[in-house]
């Protein structure tokens, strides 16, 4: 009962945050202007264009990406049995960064760049799974393979930086910091449909996550070998993460702190934790993005700056407040 209430409250909070975000954004608009634009969707006023073509799509993108990253963070933490794992632990971000940097140096943009970035993400996760299967496919082997691959790929990115023109380097660095602004490369409905489908699949595996988080032996209980189960879950979560990285760059901390914080609220049962994390991830990233747009208006901060600061403060508070056994 308490947890049903938590989910409902989070849902209401998400709706409120979205409504609030419509009134706040990079362009200064007064509340009556926003209200007028909302009431007359077809009108071609500045406010109408800003609200309907920039702000609302961006809000939806922030919620989608935030929910996805938080949901995936929950999955990675369960499968790797490590509460400090996150969507980028397996090198998905490093693969995406290499793909995107390569695309920028080659002069690609739009869909080809997104495609190359996504390919980088997929290639890195396939490599990690291949490297770990070669050994014993335990959580620690998977994490170690991810760390090794991240180092390797980051070195390649640094190499590209050292030989690329300063303009390309600047563009790449901006991309790496992540942004929820529309690049026009992937239509929002397509992104939404893909993420909704994949996240829906994650819900189906909530009980499996409970078992796998207790150890490989427990996976037998639901009739899947632990290897298959881990590969399926990591594959799904990496697909989602890859999509997010490809459309919005590397936005850190959402996938790490949200599952952590929510576990204290709803408990560890993934049947509750996964939906609660997704809702909270959407709220958190949307709030951060709104702050990033409005804090130094007319300049827009990279959203990663805000999520990083919030994440740092959160963990510091956690560290100072929680007694050691509480940290995990």
């Amino acid at each position: 009962m308490k947890r049903t209430a938590t989910i409902l409250v989070l849902f209401a909070a998400l709706v409120c945050t979205m409504a609030l975000a419509v009134f706040l954004g990079g362009t200064a608009l007064s509340a009556p202007e926003v209200a007028a634009a909302l009431l007359h969707p077809g009108s071609h006023t500045t406010a109408g264009v800003v609200i309907w073509e920039l702000r609302i799509p961006r809000i939806i993108r922030a919620v989608l990406v935030g929910s996805s990253l938080a949901g995936c963070g929950t999955v990675f933490q369960a499968v790797l049995r490590n509460p400090l794992a996150e969507p980028y632990t397996l090198g998905v971000s490093a693969g995406g960064a290499l793909g995107a940097t390569t695309a920028i140096v080659l002069g690609l943009s739009g869909l080809p760049m997104v495609a190359l970035c996504f390919t980088g993400c997929l290639a890195s996760i396939c490599l990690v799974i291949a490297m770990s299967v070669f050994r014993d496919f335990t959580a620690s082997t998977i994490i170690l393979s991810g760390v090794v691959l991240s180092f390797l790929l980051s070195s390649v990115v640094m190499f590209i930086f050292s030989v690329a023109s300063s303009r390309d380097v600047h563009a790449s660095v901006l991309w790496l910091m992540g942004s929820l602004a529309d690049t026009g490369a992937v239509p929002l409905p397509a992104l939404g449909a893909a993420l909704a489908f994949l996240l829906g699949m994650l819900f189906v595996f909530a009980r499996d996550m409970n078992l796998i988080s207790l150890g490989d032996e427990k996976a037998h209980l639901l009739g899947l070998g632990p290897g298959t189960l881990k590969a399926v879950l990591l594959g799904l979560a990496s697909l989602v993460t890859g999509l997010c990285v490809a459309v919005s760059g590397i936005i850190g901390f959402v996938g790490l702190i949200i599952p952590h914080a929510l576990r204290r609220l709803t408990g560890a049962d993934h049947q509750w934790l996964v939906p609660a994390s997704m809702l909270s991830g959407g709220i958190f990233l949307l709030a951060c993005d709104t702050i990033a747009q409005t804090a130094l208006r007319p300049y827009e901060l990279p959203v990663g700056v805000i999520t990083g600061m919030a994440g740092g403060v959160f963990f510091l508070a956690y560290l100072l407040k929680a007694s050691p056994p509480e940290v995990f």
Partner: protein, 261 residues
């Protein structure tokens, strides 16, 4: 009632053999104890018996069926595997943990039925953990944790229960309580129990039969008094001992006298 049979099992990891041509049968409704020194292959054998490890050769038969051919979910309804006490990384509550034992009956998405709740309730009461149902597993004492792990297995309503060193980390009260409970379950509900133990006297006291493992082979097997002999203990454990029948229960009791010269 279902029995569990190991047929000429050879198993290990990569290219080295840990157990070598091991055969034994656990009678339906009995408590069968696996004993042996560290490194004798108990855990490997145990992992084979529960279907977690594929043997190089031989098979494990559960009620006549090869367990390698039993679909995993059906296997989970037939046999429950309780691992050694280990730390749990996530803050599940006792009730959440125990309920996971019902997953094999409900699968991935089906809702739990009143019957599931009833089984969970009954088992928690039986094991005296109903009071701590909302506590996180990490906050439990060793004795409580072992009972929670056991409850998670019992709610599967298995016909066979496999427990790996259940008495390690428990004080004597909880050791006796746990072993008595296993014996009761086997006698009253016909549960077949396979258990690995380090404490030879506990093994002698509570098990119907014993198998003594030595360097991957069965050194001796049979009723406790046949297995727990001075000669066997000296050969396998390199320890001098005297075995006398317990004056009250007529079970063998081992007195350890020191290392073999």
């Amino acid at each position: 009632m279902t029995g569990l049979v190991a047929q000429d099992l050879t198993a290990g990891y990569q290219d080295h053999r840990v157990i070598d041509h091991v055969s034994f049968a656990v009678e339906p409704g009995s408590v069968f104890g696996l004993i042996g020194p560290n490194g004798s292959g108990k855990t490997t054998l145990f992992r084979c018996m529960s279907g977690l490890l594929k043997p190089f050769a031989g098979s494990v038969r559960l009620g006549g069926e090869d367990i390698a051919r039993i679909p995993k979910r059906r296997l989970a309804r037939l046999a429950a595997f309780i691992p050694q006490i280990h730390s749990v990384a996530f803050p599940y509550t006792v009730e959440e943990y125990v309920l996971m034992g019902r997953y094999p009956h409900r699968g991935r998405t089906a809702a739990f039925t009143p019957q599931d709740r009833e089984v969970v309730e009954e088992t928690m009461t039986l094991l005296d953990i109903a009071d701590v149902r909302d506590k996180r597993i990490q906050r439990l004492s060793g004795g409580e944790m072992q009972r929670v792990f056991l409850a998670g297995g019992l709610v599967q309503r298995p016909e066979i229960l496999l427990m790996d060193e259940p008495t390690t980390h428990l004080d004597i009260t909880h050791q006796v309580r746990l072993m008595t409970m296993l014996k009761d379950l086997s006698e009253r509900s016909g549960l077949t129990v396979l258990v690995t133990l380090h404490d030879l006297n506990m093994a002698g006291l509570y098990c119907t039969s014993l198998a003594l493992l030595h360097q991957g082979r069965i050194h001796a097997m049979g009723r406790p008094e046949e297995v727990l002999t001075r000669a066997n203990i000296e050969q396998v454990y390199q320890v001098r001992s005297e075995v006398c029948p317990d004056p009250y229960l007529s079970k063998p009791h081992v007195y350890f006298l020191g290392e073999k010269d």
